[in-house]
């Protein structure tokens, strides 16, 4: 698969960013995360969603592209002529109030109901911690409160587990109705964009389902890289390849391939 991708004119990360960008509707208010979503948002703005508005947890709102490529959301070009510079609590309040349509988060572990772990592999009890991960940052807030959220992560069996060791960012808990019972007002995960495909959630059960496979990837590969018997949507499609226009834009924003290099 790696070999196959290398013969293509784009990297796997570029494909994922292009897929992320397509999740953004024109005019939507987007809580932009770090890394690939940062690029996905820039791409969406330059193509099908020029009216999208970007919100960053540092306390930034931008409806125009940054004047120069940025590596993190805190880079100074992202502040220059922003539409609002304020407190983290100000932008989190917009989120909590229901003003954010879509957000993006990454994770180290995800389970069949879209719960994410970015805190503890093994468990949180002393002696059980195998790996301490960086933690929530704003991810728990986005997963709790955004209209919908998109998860982006590598597709590996050790990461796609039946049940996460720790819920940092809630998905659908143990199934449909769980979020409502918990009191969460955000809509929950809408898609998982991985290195192999795109997965969505069954509205009736809250369970993840394979929706599209990336070019050159088979359904069987994805099933083998998933730690539970993954359901496959009746009509699995192929994830669209990034267009030449999209690639040109991505390479403008990530000229050294820091985020999207092979």
């Amino acid at each position: 698969m790696a070999t196959e991708a290398q013969t293509r004119s784009y990297t796997p990360a570029e494909l994922m960013v292009a897929a992320a960008a397509r999740e953004i509707g024109d005019g939507e208010v987007v809580f932009v995360g770090m890394r690939l979503p940062l690029l996905g948002f820039q791409l969406a703005k330059r193509t099908h969603a020029p009216g999208a508005i970007g919100i960053y947890e540092l306390g930034i709102i931008r409806s125009t592209p940054a004047p120069e490529p940025i590596l993190t959301m805190g880079d100074l070009p992202n502040l220059c002529r922003a539409q609002w510079l304020a407190d983290t609590l100000d932008v989190m309040s917009l989120l909590q109030r229901g003003d954010i349509h879509v957000s993006f988060i990454g994770g180290a572990q995800v389970d069949r109901f879209g719960n994410l772990n970015t805190s503890y592999i093994g468990g949180m009890a002393p002696g059980r911690i195998e790996t301490r991960l960086p933690g929530s940052g704003g991810a728990c807030d986005l997963a709790s409160l955004a209209g919908r959220h998109i998860i982006i992560m590598p597709h590996e069996k050790r990461r796609f587990v039946p049940r996460v060791d720790y819920i940092t960012s809630p998905g659908y808990g143990d199934g449909a109705g769980w979020r409502q019972r918990a009191g969460l007002t955000g809509g929950g995960p809408a898609a998982v964009i991985t290195t192999l495909g795109v997965l969505r959630f069954d509205p009736d059960t809250g369970e993840m389902m394979l929706a599209s496979v990336h070019p050159g990837v088979t359904v069987e590969q994805i099933l083998a890289a998933t730690g539970w018997p993954l359901r496959v949507a009746p009509q699995v499609t192929q994830t669209p390849e990034p267009t030449a226009e999209a690639l040109a834009i991505l390479r403008h924003f990530d000229p050294q391939g820091f985020w999207t290099g092979s």
Binding site: G74, L79, S136, S144, P170, T185
Partner: protein
């Protein structure tokens, strides 16, 4: 009528303001304005048993942990913003050397805001159903007295000390900050003792001509330190860009305890003053980080 000067050296400010065992909020700007110079002074003074509070703080928390200053962390995320994990943090948590109270950015912002407001808790809709409740005793589930909705109560944090890095301050502690604020305002207003580090010390009238840009009341500031380049390698609006290369090299060099010790010897222990630090950084690198494009605010009139 002129308030007495609170200007002091960085050494003095840390020696007097930061006691072993205290709770200290720093890096409240999340990615920007992180008081690295002050953090390094804490490392040099071999402070011990600190509890660090901050949502993200990029690699500063990892450094303080690696230097052995830290007993506990109350944070949303600890690592290296552009590379991921912080190795000192991982090692310390996995070996049980430090305790962690897990927050989200919103719960941490609210904990400090509660401290700033003088209330013992604030309610939120975030984190419900998450395991943050399992690794943070300062989150509790409550019921709204009006709507009967389920909510998360976040207990107030009142740090002993806040260290804030700003663009300019006067000697009495009135400070201008611009750019995105993160939780800087909450951090300063919640804390018992406030140390302001500033790129520039300016005349009182420069600050007073724009009172809307003042971060917190001057009477709540205890020490003012002139610390040019004191937020490097984090970005400082109006002064310098983020030094991505340092974050990348830190990631490589801190992978082992020995590697981190060598890093600390070079970047922290061998440095005494901001002049030392700038010499280490090198003029060429500093010039590369300096602003290449300027964009000035339009004036406003506070006349009468």
């Amino acid at each position: 009528m002129t308030p007495s000067s609170k200007l002091t050296s960085l050494h003095e400010a840390i020696a007097r303001g930061v006691a072993d065992g205290s709770t200290i909020v720093l890096g409240a700007g999340l990615e920007a304005c992180i008081p690295f110079a002050a953090g390094h002074e804490i490392m040099r003074q071999r402070k011990r048993g600190l509890t660090l509070v901050g949502p993200i703080s990029d690699i500063l928390f990892d450094q303080l942990i690696g230097a052995g200053c830290v007993r506990a962390v109350r944070a949303a995320w600890v690592g290296n913003v552009i590379t991921g994990s912080g190795y000192n943090f991982r090692r310390a948590v996995e070996s049980g050397r430090i305790a962690v109270e897990d927050h989200s950015n919103l719960t941490l912002a609210l904990a400090l805001r509660a401290g700033a407001m003088g209330v013992p808790f604030l309610p939120t809709r975030t984190a419900l159903g998450s395991d943050l409740f399992a690794s943070n005793a300062h989150l509790k589930s409550i019921t709204c007295p009006f709507t009967a909705e389920r909510l998360t109560a976040v207990a107030a944090i009142v740090p002993d000390v806040a260290i804030l890095h700003v663009q300019r301050a006067d000697a009495a502690g009135h400070a201008h900050l611009w750019g995105n604020f993160g939780v800087t305002r909450e951090a300063g207003l919640a804390s018992q003792h406030v140390i302001v580090c500033a790129e520039e010390i300016v005349a009182a009238e420069v600050i007073a001509r724009d009172p809307n840009r003042v971060v917190l009341p001057g009477f709540r500031v205890n020490a003012v330190v002139h610390a040019p380049w004191g937020a490097h390698p984090s970005p400082m609006p109006g002064h310098y860009n983020r030094d991505h290369e340092l974050f990348l090299s830190y990631q490589r060099e801190s992978q082992t305890p020995e590697g981190f010790a060598a890093w600390q010897a070079r970047w922290v222990d061998a440095v005494q003053t901001s002049a030392d630090y700038l010499a280490l950084l090198g003029a060429e690198r500093a010039a590369r980080l300096a602003l290449a494009h300027h964009d000035y605010s339009e004036a406003v009139d506070y006349g009468y």
